[in-house]
């Protein structure tokens, strides 16, 4: 039995305010009714491409697979004037291979999931060692998982202390804190965990929805709760925290709905890839397919687009 942290959640919730689930879902349903056409669609699709963290996180990943992912990140599609994606996202063991494939002189960043992703169930020193080695191998960004057990037990100090330790281990690398929303279950918990993380993050660090390894990943609802937390934190402290929904965003249409949420909640300041990312893999080709359709007026068969990242 743990020592117990009575009323920890109640106190935090009093401070940051609760979330009404029905209200959040009604709000986000309106985003999906926005009609994004013509030039605004092309702008939105290109923006989404530039925000993709192109991801492969599988036990069967190999250096060659990662190399093909990196090539795709640099050149999403021939014949279309599209931006490069924001980053590739790989396991720590693949960071050096990604660095070799991308080279030193590239705008595409290397993100690595560390801290015993996805469960985080390893001793802290092991998790920190993993972070340091990923950074040493050339990772620009570290995607960590929070200690959900500590959070759910009300041990907020411990949860935050671990984030701080990882943050310090990152050095200059950007930190992304994965809340794993499906294990937090309620919107109240998602808001609370967002605040606990943001309070120890540096400007430009991220909070991220999920690992993509559980049943429920990014939804417009949990994205909205986190965007509102970021907005409230920014307006109160002036510290801009970035956001990354991950997992489950597979279509261009979904991505545009997420961008509508960003535009209408956080405004123009977050409509760029230093403040907003999509953790996804199959999304990229759907974005490209839609862009090709806008250009040519016809949908192209999927096999016209190179497959370099079929997971997630």
């Amino acid at each position: 039995m743990s020592a117990g942290f009575p009323n920890a959640f109640r106190r935090l919730c009093d401070e940051i305010g609760p979330v009404d689930a029905v209200g959040i879902e009604e709000r986000v349903a309106k985003y999906a009714t926005r009609s994004i056409k013509k030039a605004s669609k092309i702008t939105g699709l290109n923006l989404a491409v530039s925000m993709v963290d192109l991801t492969t996180l599988e036990g069967k990943d190999t250096p060659d697979k990662v190399a093909s992912l990196c090539r795709k990140a640099l050149h999403p599609h021939e014949g279309l004037n599209v931006p490069q994606v924001a980053a590739v996202c790989v396991y720590p063991s693949m960071v050096k291979h990604a660095r070799r494939a991308l080279g030193e002189d590239t705008a595409v960043r290397i993100a690595s999931v560390a801290t015993a992703f996805p469960s985080g169930q390893a001793p802290l020193r092991t998790r920190l060692a993993e972070v340091k080695s990923a950074v040493a191998d050339g990772a620009d960004e570290i995607d960590m998982v929070i200690n959900r057990g500590a959070f759910l037990a009300g041990e907020y100090q411990r949860m935050q202390d671990e984030i701080v330790a990882v943050r310090d281990a990152c050095g200059t690398a950007t930190l992304k804190v994965i809340l794993e929303v499906s294990e937090l279950e309620t919107y109240d918990n998602i808001r609370a965990a967002s605040f606990l993380a943001m309070r120890v993050l540096r400007p430009g660090d991220f909070i991220k929805t999920s690992t993509g390894k559980t049943s429920l990943n990014a939804t417009l609802g949990n994205n909205q709760v986190m965007l509102e937390a970021i907005r409230d934190f920014y307006l109160a402290t002036g510290t801009p925290i970035a956001m990354k929904p991950a997992g489950g965003i597979r279509t261009a249409k979904q991505a545009l709905h997420f961008l509508v949420a960003v535009k209408e909640t956080l405004g123009d300041g977050w409509l760029n890839n230093t403040r907003y990312r999509f953790g996804a893999s199959s999304l990229l080709n759907d974005l490209l397919r839609q862009l090709e359709k806008e250009k040519t007026g016809a949908y192209q068969a999927p096999y016209y687009f190179s497959e370099a990242a079929e997971s997630y």
Partner: protein, 504 residues
């Protein structure tokens, strides 16, 4: 491990002094392109009266124009009904009532109602466009609310038509006869459904007049009524000015009259029918309080406030036009509201991305502007988000007033426009007292995380509907109606049916 974290409060303590407060930028970095709804509203240049199942020219030979408030152009000519037409309509209704409809078994009547509901669904897009053109409300509202909800009312009451023995347990029910109905311009088609569906399900015939400003969807519904094969005379639709409505209310053949509109006109009607033995239901004005406590989920409350007062440009009788906000969170709520209003899109109602459309008429726009002047003159502080309004048409940006007290006119009178009066309170009792301190009592909203407080408030608030942690939610099964000068009688649910029958 190094020391870790000092717990940082959310309040702006770690912001460098002297630096400007952080702000969000809602600019045009990624602007939505126009997305007009292009479905054909299938309009005719001229609409006649609908009497005895046929479209007939008015006895006066006169017509009036229906105007699109979004661009001030003429949509169609509407027949101007007068006394001989009203009389013809009642004769047709009497014939239908005595000959067919009153005697028809409920399960047969249900078939017609189901047919109307399905035909309305089939033509939903067309009706949504026509309604938006006539009324000025955004297409997303007509498409997602008005038309589907109108169909839902026909479906719901069709379901009742063969179960009328269970409307009043232990009693039998019988139709009243002919009902005269006059409806407002804020939800032209939906109010028509609210009035006709229960009347018809119960076996009554109707003579109904849509509002002078918005007669179009009523005559389009007449086409559906014809297509559904409803026996001639069961529904008769007369268009015209307010005086035509007066004639409908005054006609001796009416067994009941039903009115939705302003309290002022409602009082005139009630005086005119006093002593005639006609039954009445009145759904009149409102000045609803939306009450936000400090423990409420504030972002969702803000969404509810916006939905409460800017839905249909605030031209809603149950609009949450007074915001009562708990003092500890008053500044936070107003700040959140402002940020939310900055992303509301005001403009062409036919654009699928428009959130706030046009006010129904120039007169109404002038009335609302008069209230803005009154608010400013009486010392309240007005705020409107920056927005570009179209050059033509009757537009009004969403408007907030802070520093409002109970004695301001904008806090007492029904404005029927996108204008929110923000009043603060300190205790639960004060909130209740302020909420009830009005001649109206149609609706109210309560926002709190505390369940017991919701129950207390819902018993203490003198309002026909109390929404908890939501606002402006409707369902055909849920009775709707007012207290005090907001009227009497209910629409929807079993209670609504009871207002269209006699117990035998």
């Amino acid at each position: 491990m190094p020391t870790l974290t000092d717990k940082k409060p959310v309040r702006p303590t770690n912001r460098a002094l002297g630096r400007p407060a952080p702000e969000l930028i809602f600019g045009d970095l990624w602007e939505y392109d126009p997305a007009p709804e292009t479905a054909d509203p299938k309009l005719k240049p001229r609409y006649e009266l609908f009497i005895g199942g046929k479209f007939v020219a008015p006895a006066s030979g006169k017509y009036f124009d229906s105007i699109n408030p979004a661009n001030e152009t003429k949509i169609a000519e509407m027949a101007l009904g007068s006394a001989p037409d009203v009389d013809a309509a009642y004769r047709a209704a009497q014939k239908a009532q005595e000959g067919v409809w009153g005697k028809m078994p409920g399960k047969e009547r249900a078939k017609y109602l189901y047919r109307i509901a399905r035909l309305l669904q089939d033509r939903a897009r067309e009706f949504a466009v026509a309604e938006t053109m006539d009324n000025g409300k955004p297409i997303k509202e007509t498409r997602d609310f008005d038309v589907p909800m109108a169909a839902a009312h026909f479906f719901y009451h069709a379901g009742w038509a063969d179960k009328l023995d269970y409307v009043a347990p232990g009693r039998r029910v019988a139709p009243l006869g002919i009902v005269g109905q006059v409806i407002p311009w804020n939800f032209p088609l939906l109010m028509m459904a609210w009035k006709l569906a229960p009347a018809l399900a119960m076996g009554n015939c109707a003579v109904i007049k849509p509002a002078t400003n918005t007669p179009l969807s009523a005559l389009k519904l007449a086409e559906i009524i014809q297509d559904a094969g409803l026996p001639p005379g069961v529904v008769n639709i007369l268009t015209g000015p307010g005086s035509t409505g007066g004639l409908i209310m005054a006609h001796p053949l009416a067994a009941k009259i039903a009115f939705t509109g302003s309290t002022e006109v409602g009082k005139v009607i009630m005086r005119s029918v006093a002593g005639t033995g006609k039954r009445m239901t009145m759904e009149l004005g409102g000045k609803a309080a939306n009450i936000v406590f400090d423990d409420a989920p504030l972002d969702q409350a803000v969404e509810g406030i916006v939905n409460g007062i800017f839905f249909n440009q605030g031209q809603v009788c149950c609009a949450g036009s007074r915001l009562l906000v708990h003092e500890p969170v008053a500044d936070a709520v107003v700040a959140k509201l402002r940020n939310r209003l900055r992303v509301l899109r005001v403009g062409d109602p036919l654009d699928k991305n428009t959130d706030v459309g046009a006010i129904v008429s120039r007169d109404q726009l002038e009335t609302v502007r008069g209230y803005l002047d009154a608010g400013v003159k009486e010392g309240a502080k007005m705020w409107q988000p920056p927005c570009r309004l179209p050059a033509k048409g009757f537009y009004m940006p969403p408007t907030l007033f802070t520093g409002v007290t109970q004695s301001h006119r904008i806090a007492r009178e029904e404005i029927f426009g996108p204008v929110l009066a923000i009043i603060t309170f300190r205790t639960v009792d004060e909130a209740i007292e302020k909420a009830n301190n009005t001649e109206y009592g149609l609706s109210a909203g309560v926002w709190t995380d505390k369940g017991s407080r919701i129950l207390k408030m819902s018993t203490e608030l003198k309002a026909g509907v109390v929404w908890a942690n939501t606002f402006n939610k409707f369902d055909p099964a849920s009775p709707f109606g007012g207290y005090k000068e907001s009227g009497f009688g209910r629409e929807g649910g079993r209670q609504g049916l009871l207002d269209y029958c006699k117990l035998v």
